[in-house]
C-alpha cells in the first residue's frame, strides 16, 4: 500500500492527479448496459427479419422517445433523492388543455404554449408543496397529485377527445429532418443539455450533494429549496413537451393518454444506474437504458407479445434493476468480499 509522502520540513503531500485505472474504467455500470443493449438487439434481429433496417429502427425510436424526454428530468429528481409519480398525469393534463384551447379557437401555436405552461405549473405545484411541507415525502405528494392532475383532465374532457390538429403539428411526431425524426433530434439535444447540467455545472454538483445528504448541503450554503423547486418544475415542463410530441403522433388528445408511462420512465432511470436512494448516477447510463428498454419493448411488439406480458416484463425489470443497484453498494461492504480482496492482495485481513 502506498504511503503518504512527507517532505523534509514535515509537510505532507497530497496528490491531486490520479493515473487512469483500467479497473475503474471497466467496472462501470454503463458497460453492463451496453451488454444488455447488444443482447436485446441480437434477440430482436433473430426473432424478426423486419427489425434490422434503418427505417424500422427510426420508427422504433419514435415509439419510445416521448418517454425518453421525461427520463432526463426524472433522473435529476431521483438523483435528488425524491420521486415524481405524477409525470404521466401531467402529460395528460397538459395535452388536454392544449387540445381544449385549440378546440376553443385558440391558434395552435398558442395552444401548445398553454399546454406547456400548464405542465410547468403542475411541476411547480409539486415543488412548492414539497418546499412548504418538508415533512411530507415526495412519494405521497406526487401520488396525490397524480390523481388530481389526471382527474382534472377527466373533468375537462370527460370521455371525449380532441383531434383535427393542423398538418404542421402532426409533423412533430412524424416528421423528419433528412432521415432523422424530429423527436430524435430534440431528444439528443435535450440529453446533451442534461449531461452539461448534471455533470458540468454547480447546479448538478449541488443536486448530487443533496441526494447524498440534505443536511450537509444546507451547511455548505446550498439553497436546497430552490434546487428542489427548479427540478420538479423542469419535470413538469418536459412532461408537457413529451405530451405535445405524443399528441402529434397520435393525432388526438384524451384524458387517459400516457397511462402507466411512469413505470417505464422510472424503470429507465433506475436501470440507467441512478440509485433510488439518491446521490448517484449518470446521464449516459440513462441514455443506454432508454435504448435497452425501448428496443426491448419494440422488439417484443414486433413478435406480437401482448402488452400485458410486456407489463410483466417491464415491472420485473424495474425491480431487478433496483435490486442490482442495492446489491452493488452492499457488495463492496460484505465481509466475505473484503476478506477475499484482502487475501488476493496477500495482506492478512484485519481481525
Amino acid at each position: 500500500m502506498a504511503k503518504q509522502v512527507i517532505q523534509a520540513d514535515g509537510t505532507r503531500i497530497i496528490e491531486n492527479e490520479r493515473a487512469f485505472s483500467w479497473k475503474r474504467f471497466m467496472f462501470q455500470w454503463e458497460w453492463m448496459l451496453v451488454l444488455m443493449l447488444i443482447i436485446v438487439n441480437i434477440i430482436n434481429i433473430s426473432s424478426s427479419s423486419n427489425y434490422a433496417n434503418f427505417d424500422n429502427i427510426m420508427n422504433a425510436m419514435r415509439d419510445f422517445l416521448d418517454k425518453a424526454i421525461v427520463v432526463f428530468p426524472m433522473a435529476l429528481v431521483i438523483v435528488l433523492g425524491e420521486i415524481d409519480i405524477s409525470v404521466a398525469s401531467i402529460m395528460a393534463l397538459s395535452s388536454v388543455t392544449m387540445g381544449m384551447a385549440y378546440q376553443a379557437g385558440v391558434p395552435m401555436g398558442l395552444a401548445i404554449v398553454i399546454g406547456l405552461l400548464v405542465g410547468t405549473l403542475c411541476g411547480f405545484i409539486n415543488g412548492i408543496i414539497l418546499v412548504k411541507f418538508p415533512e411530507l415525502s415526495s412519494m405521497i405528494v406526487t401520488l396525490a397529485t397524480q390523481i388530481i392532475f389526471r382527474g382534472i383532465a377527466s373533468i375537462l374532457l370527460e370521455t371525449g377527445s380532441v383531434g383535427g390538429f393542423p398538418d404542421w403539428f402532426n409533423s412533430f411526431g412524424w416528421g423528419k429532418v433528412g432521415s432523422i425524426p424530429i423527436i430524435l433530434i430534440f431528444t439528443i439535444i435535450e440529453a446533451l443539455f442534461f449531461v452539461y447540467l448534471l455533470h458540468f455545472t454547480k447546479f448538478g454538483r449541488r443536486t448530487y450533494a443533496m441526494g447524498n445528504s440534505v443536511m450537509v448541503s444546507k451547511f455548505s450554503g446550498i439553497k436546497t429549496n430552490k434546487i428542489k423547486l427548479i427540478i420538479f418544475t423542469m419535470a413538469g415542463l418536459l412532461a408537457a413537451v413529451a405530451a405535445v410530441f405524443l399528441a402529434s403522433k397520435m393525432g388526438s388528445v384524451r384524458p387517459d393518454v400516457a397511462k402507466g408511462y411512469e413505470l417505464d420512465i422510472i424503470a429507465m432511470v433506475v436501470l440507467g444506474g441512478v440509485a433510488s436512494s439518491g446521490g448517484k448516477g449518470k446521464i449516459l447510463g440513462c441514455i443506454l437504458s432508454i435504448l435497452v428498454i425501448g428496443f426491448l419493448r419494440y422488439g417484443l411488439g414486433l413478435v406480437n407479445v401482448t402488452s400485458q406480458v410486456i407489463m410483466i416484463i417491464v415491472g420485473t425489470l424495474l425491480i431487478v434493476a433496483v435490486a442490482i443497484t442495492n446489491l452493488k453498494s452492499s457488495f463492496g461492504q460484505a465481509k466475505w468480499v473484503k476478506n477475499l480482496s484482502n487475501n488476493i492482495k496477500g495482506v492478512k485481513a484485519q481481525r
Binding site: I83, I85, I129, F133, E135, L136, S137, M139, I140, V141, L143, A144, T145, Q146, I147, I148, F149, R150, G151, I152, S154, I155, E158, G260, E262, L263, I266, A267, V270, S276, S277, T306, Q308, V309, I310, M311, I312, V314, G315, T316, L318, I319, V322, A323, N326, L327
Partner: protein, 332 residues
C-alpha cells in the same frame, strides 16, 4: 363521568370524534341536497356493503403504512386473486364457495410474500417494489383471463350468495368487515407482534437494539396485506358479479385515502384501528354521496386525490401545532 375524564376522552380521541362529526354533517347535507334519496334502506345498505370491502383493505394498508411503507399493488392482487378464484369456479360450479375464498387468500398471501421479500430482504423502496409488482400482478391477471371476462352466469348461486347473504339480518360483507376489525384491533393492541409493528415504525434502529427482528416484521406486514387483498378481491368480484383484467384498477388510492383520513401518518409509527374504520366509512360515504348529489364520476377522481393531499397537509399542520405547544411549554 367527571369533567376531567370527559376532557381526557375528548383529547385522546380528537380525530375519531371529528370524523364522526364530519360523517354526520355530510350525511345530513347529502340527505337534504339529494331530496331525501340518501337515508333510504336500499342506499344505506349499499353504502355499508361498498364500504365493507374498502374497510377490510384499510386494516391491512394501515399496518404497512405504520412501518413507513406503502403498497400500490393491492388493486392488482385483488384482481389476480379474484380472477383465479372465479376461473376455478367457472369450471367447477359445485365447489364450496369457502374453498374458493381460501384459494384467493392463498394467492394474495403469495403475492404479499413477494412484496415483503423485496422490501425487507432486498431493501427495495416500497413505492418502487410495489409499483413494479403492481404491473406484474396485473399482467398475470390478463394472462389468466386470456382477455375474457368471468361473468355472473359463470358463478354458482352459492358463491354469489356470499356477497348478498345475511347473518342475523346484517349483510355478510359487513359482518366480515366487523370480524376483520375485531381481529385487527386485538392484534394491533393486545398481541406482542402487533405492537412490534408500531415499534419498527417508530424507530427501526431502536427496535433492532431492543432485539426485535425488524426484517421479519416488515415481511409480515406485506404478507398480511396480500392475504387481505386476496380476501377482499374475491369478495369484490363476488359483489359485482364480474372478474376481468381491469378489476379494481386504481383501488389502492381509495384505501390509502381511507387510511390517511383515519389518522395514519405516512411517516409511520402512528395509526389507530378505530380511526381507519371511520376513515373508510367517511370515504365510502363520499363515494356513495357524490352520485346522489349529481357530482359526475369525472369529478370523483380529482376529489379523491384532493382528499389525500389535504389530509396529509393538515396532518402536518396539526403535528407542527403540537410541537409548537410542546416548545412553548419549555418555558424558554
Amino acid at each position: 363521568m367527571n369533567n376531567s375524564t370527559l376532557k381526557k376522552f375528548f383529547s385522546d380521541n380528537v380525530r375519531e370524534i371529528s370524523l364522526i362529526l364530519v360523517i354526520i354533517v355530510i350525511s345530513i347535507f347529502v340527505q337534504l341536497r339529494s331530496g331525501g334519496n340518501f337515508f333510504t334502506p336500499e342506499n344505506i345498505a349499499d353504502l355499508f356493503t361498498e364500504t365493507a370491502i374498502l374497510a377490510i383493505l384499510a386494516v391491512g394498508m394501515m399496518m404497512v403504512i405504520i412501518t413507513a411503507g406503502i403498497d400500490l399493488s393491492i388493486g392488482a392482487i385483488m384482481a389476480l386473486a379474484g380472477m383465479i378464484g372465479t376461473t376455478i369456479l367457472k369450471g367447477n360450479q359445485e365447489i364450496n364457495p369457502v374453498l374458493i375464498i381460501l384459494i384467493s387468500i392463498v394467492i394474495g398471501t403469495l403475492c404479499g410474500m413477494i412484496n415483503g421479500a423485496l422490501v425487507s430482504k432486498l431493501r427495495i423502496l416500497p413505492i418502487i417494489a410495489t409499483l413494479g409488482m403492481m404491473n406484474v400482478f396485473r399482467g398475470l391477471t390478463y394472462l389468466v383471463s386470456k382477455g375474457s371476462w368471468v361473468l355472473q352466469n359463470d358463478m354458482s348461486r352459492a358463491f354469489l350468495n356470499v356477497a348478498t347473504g345475511k347473518v342475523f339480518g346484517i349483510n355478510n360483507l359487513v359482518v366480515m368487515a366487523l370480524v376483520v376489525y375485531v381481529i385487527g384491533y386485538i392484534f394491533l393492541n393486545f398481541i406482542r407482534t402487533g405492537r412490534k409493528i408500531y415499534a419498527v415504525g417508530n424507530s427501526e434502529e431502536s427496535a433492532q437494539v431492543s432485539g426485535i427482528k425488524t426484517e421479519r416484521i416488515l415481511w409480515l406486514v406485506y404478507t398480511i396485506m396480500g392475504a387481505i387483498a386476496g380476501f377482499a378481491g374475491i369478495l369484490y368480484v363476488c359483489k359485482f358479479g364480474a372478474a376481468q383484467g381491469e378489476t379494481a384498477v386504481g383501488y389502492e388510492m381509495n384505501v390509502i385515502a381511507a387510511s390517511v383520513l383515519g389518522g395514519v401518518s405516512i411517516a409511520g409509527g402512528t395509526g389507530r384501528v378505530q380511526g381507519v374504520l371511520l376513515g373508510a366509512l367517511l370515504l365510502g360515504l363520499l363515494n356513495n354521496a357524490m352520485p346522489l348529489i349529481n357530482i359526475s364520476a369525472f369529478w370523483q377522481e380529482a376529489i379523491r386525490g384532493l382528499i389525500i393531499l389535504l389530509s396529509v397537509m393538515s396532518n402536518s399542520l396539526i403535528q407542527r401545532n403540537v410541537e409548537m405547544k410542546a416548545l412553548r411549554r419549555r418555558n424558554i
